[in-house]
């Protein structure tokens, strides 16, 4: 099956010199993405407090993929991480809101806004 998920991890500093880990997803996020998504997330250095999820290169996202994101957000919630997202189409912004996960990750229109808005 094509379009396997890959996740690129980047460490950035915001203008205010805050350390942020960015997870850039590529391909599809579906039931087969569990290891790729959660391994990348769990591989972040201990003490990571700010995370940005970049969906701009995601081709296809379904409810099983969203369930994996919920698991990620659940783990982040437990450790009080702040997780911002950007790069979702208008349609998937709506879907995220319908499902309710916008309560646990705020959606930003682009990367600079997602980075700038960390407290």
């Amino acid at each position: 099956m094509q379009s396997e998920t890959s996740v690129k991890v980047e460490q950035l500093k915001t203008a205010a010199a805050a350390q942020v880990a960015v997870l850039r997803f590529h391909g599809d996020i579906t039931s087969t993405s569990k290891a790729a998504v959660l391994d990348a997330y769990r591989g972040l250095p201990a003490g990571t407090g700010r995370i940005v999820l970049d969906f701009s290169k995601v081709d296809y996202l379904n409810s099983s993929g969203i369930a994996i994101l919920i698991q990620l957000l659940m783990e982040g919630h437990k450790t009080s991480q702040s997780i911002h997202s950007f790069g979702l189409s208008a349609h998937f912004q709506k879907v995220f809101a319908m499902v309710g996960i916008t309560k646990y990750t705020h959606l930003y229109p682009d990367e600079p806004t997602a980075l700038a808005s960390f407290a």
Partner: protein, 155 residues
Amino acid sequence: MKTDKSLSVEQRKEQRVELRLPSKLGFEKIAMQTAASYAAILGLAPDRVEDLKTAVAEACINAIEHGNHGDEKVVVGVILTIDHRRLEVKVLDHGSGITHAVLPPDIDKKMLGEEDPRGMGMFLIEALVDEVEWVSNPPEGSYARLVIYLDREKR
């Protein structure tokens, strides 16, 4: 030519399009694209085409996983028709169908691990299309019937 017996000369309804897929995860993307181009040809607005794509993908995933138990040799059928500016998609499987009601996901419970993180497919289908119906008729099979109105604003 060994003609495919199932390819009948006459169709019951004009503009009817049928698709059959193996029960293999990932193939729902084909149904999604087929439905999207059918809807685009008929003039469905682009944002509603996106609604339809997600709803059709979720219905096919359920047919593949739950209806046909991922047996690749078993077919998922998708039948697209248009009538009075209502676009209908039937997604057929060979399982026994749905018995329970559709529950909206409780994100707080999911976050606390009190609810399965999955279980959002049927909710999304209901939220995205204008009408939905789940019909089961064992042993023949079951289907989800999704309807989207060509002239309705976005959900």
